[in-house]
Amino acid sequence: MAFEGIGASVKRREDGRFLAGRGHYVDDMNRPGQVYAAIRRSDRPHARIKSIDSSAAAAAPGVIAVYTGADMAADGIGGLPCGWQIHNKDGSPMAEPMHPVLATGKVRHVGDPIAVVIAETKAQAKDAAELLVIDFEDLPGVADIRAASAPGAPLVHDEVAGNVCYDWHIGDKGAVDAAFARAKHVVKLDLVNNRLIPNAMEPRAALGECDVSGHYTLSTTSQNPHVIRLLMGAFVLHIPEHKLRIIAPDVGGGFGSKIYHYAEEAIVTWAAGKLRRPVKWTAERSESFMSDAHGRDHVSHAEMAVDEEGHFLALRVSTLANMGAYLSTFAPSVPTYLYATLLAGVYKTPAIYAEVKAIFTNTVPVDAYRGAGRPEAAFLLERLVDVVAQETGIDRVELRRKNFIPADAYPYQTPVALQYDSGNHEMTLAEALKAADYAGFPARRAEAARRGKLRGIGISTYLEACGIAPSHVAGALGARAGLYEVANIRVHPTGSVTVFTGAHSHGQGHETTFAQLVADQLGVPFDQVDVVHGDTGEIPFGMGTYGSRSLAVGGSAMVKAMDKIIAKGKRIAAHLMEASVEDIEFKDGAFRVAGTDKAKALAEISLAAYVPHNYPIEELEPGLEETAFYDPKNFTYPGGCHVCEVEIDPETGVTKVVNFVAVDDVGRVINPMIVEGQVQGGVAQGIGQALLEGAAYDANGQLLSGSFMDYTMPRADNLPNITVGTEITLCTHNPLGSKGCGEVGAIGSPPAVINAVVDALKDYGVRHIDMPATPEKIWSIIAANRPKMAAE
């Protein structure tokens, strides 16, 4: 049998059912007596609801019920909760306006749910939803963050002055100001981090049920079923947790957008209770565009103070972050603790000060999306470093090396709260430059020029924080939830194993990776280990999957649970082999008496545990099943170097990514093939952000990119062959040494791409280009600068 333990590229066992169309998704679930919900959504960005006449809808064929925000309020249902509270510079809490499940009084973005129609068929529900007569009074709307924060802007929430959710800061302003005062160079850059629409392959769906005894079940497209149970049960519908089960079965991609507690989950669960019939809602793609939380959307000004030799003295950043119309579940944490704390990056910049204003606008709520804050930080910093290189005349690779935190400086305390545990940026840089043949680039550029093409190369040396986080630290920073993970390991009587994890797989391949980990550590065959996730009726209370945390935190919980299994197994083995517990060793799936040839396999021990005839029953409980909760001591800090090479057609402005190398330090790797796939997927999203994707709103808040006809998702032919390398340092504080790989691709790549585009255009006097670097933007630069060059 081939090696299938830690480090083996075992093929993903879940792919058999996915590739055969046998996955089991929420929309595949159908229950006897099921009815269908259709949501009537706002088609306008900002309006007062003067009245809703639902009589025609209620009388339409097949309609069972029509509910509005007033009906929910009458049942004592308030708003959707926010899971993170940020405090302003002055210590006061952020503005936290009501986020009604169904809009009451006003609609605040295109897609805001107003009413739900429940009918016997989906078509009947949709037909009737169109019959609702809603009398709106249109109000001026605002979509752009700069416009929304300007004096006199329309107010998204009447009670939130200036649309400011919070005005927050971090770092030592005095030290930064002093450093700027003595700097040789001050390099400034204004930049936009474009708004993205996640578009997981599977649209969101929810199926609510309520049985005769008042037990509710919600099947939903979630990355974290227990979080939904807690938020919806305790804060929205007031259903005690023992009567509420959440099932997140196969889920087709999330990228963050399926972390949050959404209105539709509460609507179908509540309606199922009122109607005592299962209620199902499945988003259409156009609904996804206007109701799934969007990502990014920052406008920033950054300044770097640099000394004569090119050492960074201080960094000053001011950012406006778009919250959208309401606070999504974890939105406030993204532009603060997941963004500004990462502004040191891989550099030993001694002083950093950042201020962040979060702004409400008449747009879909914004929340964490693959990378969440860290891509925004990496983009700002890695673009700024390139501009520093350009303006000081120092080579960009040399400038980075000069400012790297050296490998021997770890653990390293940054000026913005985080303490990095490990890393080696010189190592990943050197490997990436080698893999990309950086040295050979000038020849390739010259060759491209002979073909009339502009070739550029860009690098980014980034770092991120994932595996969030020590619960007490997160709590002190405003988190309203714990951030541990849990694993339950059940060794069955004959020695096979079921792992119950609080992490959730929606594309990550956990059923394979976790089985490899457990099989390796317990010394049992890979096919003797199964992984169960996603059902609060089966798994212990876990926090789910986001922030590249599943292996670093969830896998560590498994290691702790296995430690307990092995410790108990040793006591059973000692009894069976009449030896002292101290003399029992566990290795390769067997308990051995040290220095002898006496041994018992795990299966013999488990059988003894469940058939405790010859068993130390006075001192040990029967059974072999252990649970461990693991609360991380720190974030983990993956990092690395991405190198992108592009070729631009100067006649059309079209950029083709011709080569991409990602060398990432993700800590210990369990399955290299899955890591490679994760990095490639992340890089694809990063290239998408850099060159293609961008949510477009008009000034008022009408969504212009509301379908794939206008929102440019990356396609296979937009992507190059992506070379993935890993050069690791181990995480020092978790038992696996793993750091996480889910987001690195999306974090490191956008600045590498834009740095390459700017490099390709360097003869045109370009300093910066905002994402997405569309053909027209690039052509405009070329067209505007050509005459000037000719005149020179």
């Binding site: 078509a123 990119s705 027209e776």
Partner: protein, 264 residues
């Protein structure tokens, strides 16, 4: 999708009868535009008349023309050895429409009757001086296209075939794809044949496909990319949206035209 009656007549005459008797009825050819429109509830026909039973597909070639049945799919045109030989640009254009699935359902007649301003076929039909044949008459390409989603077709008129005159000496198509939809943001068909030298542009104009007389005159004198490199198309009347301004589209017309001429 709203409910509608589904009809599948077996002859053009029956289809015309159904269409004439119901002002709210719509014709279904390949459905590659129409079905998404129905799914988004943007159209509420009383009846959908499926043309698949009319035996309108197929390609025939004579000394003087290539005739393509209205229900011939893009894939059939793209892989037709006869089309490739007689009018290579036309086969090339068909091979670039949509994706593989679209090309196996979408039809030339459906594309022309819909006259989407960013569809590819109108550029070839206009540049090659084709004739659109219907149940009633033959309509010259010059008279057929009458603005965005508007054609010379009467309410009870069905396209049966498209006739492209031969011999075609030069033909090529170049298209700049709208990045998201991959429709033509600017598509330029250049041709030299019985209709003369023609340059037809799709995707860019607010009123659909149009010709560029300055380029035609220049190419008639000298068939080379350089001959039209200096021709600047006015942005006036061109589309402007989140993917490209009118000025950018105007610029791309010249670039695509040059490339098409080089490829022809």
């Amino acid at each position: 999708m709203y409910d509608f009656a589904y009809q599948k007549p077996a002859s053009v005459a029956d289809a015309v009868k159904l269409l004439a008797g119901d002002a709210e009825a719509k014709l279904l050819a390949g459905g590659q535009t129409f079905i998404p429109v129905l799914k988004q509830r943007l159209n509420k026909p009383s009846a959908v008349i499926d043309l698949a039973g009319l035996k309108l597909s197929g390609i025939s070639v004579s000394a003087n023309s290539v005739t393509i049945g209205a229900m011939t799919t893009h894939a059939t045109v793209a892989r037709s050895a006869e089309v490739k030989k007689a009018i290579p640009g036309l086969a090339m254009l068909a091979s670039w429409i949509g994706d593989n699935q679209v090309r196996h359902r979408g039809t030339i007649g459906g594309s022309l009757a819909n006259n989407d301003p960013s569809a590819c076929y109108p550029a070839a039909v206009l540049a090659l001086g084709a004739v659109i044949k219907t149940n009633k008459r033959a309509i010259k390409a010059d008279d057929f296209f009458q603005g965005m989603f508007t054609t010379a077709l009467e309410p009870d008129e069905i396209i049966t075939a498209v006739e492209f005159p031969l011999p075609v000496e030069k033909s090529a198509y170049e298209k700049f794809r709208q990045p998201a939809s991959r429709y033509a943001m600017v598509g330029v068909f250049v041709a030299k044949g019985p209709a003369g030298v023609r340059v037809a542009v799709t995707g860019a104009g607010q009123n659909g496909v149009f010709r560029v007389p300055e380029m035609e005159a220049a190419l008639a004198k000298s068939w080379s990319p350089d001959a039209i490199a200096g021709v600047k198309v006015s942005p006036e009347g061109l589309n402007s949206d989140i993917h490209g301004s009118a000025a950018y589209r105007a610029h791309l017309i010249t670039v695509m035209a040059k490339r098409a001429v080089a490829a022809a």
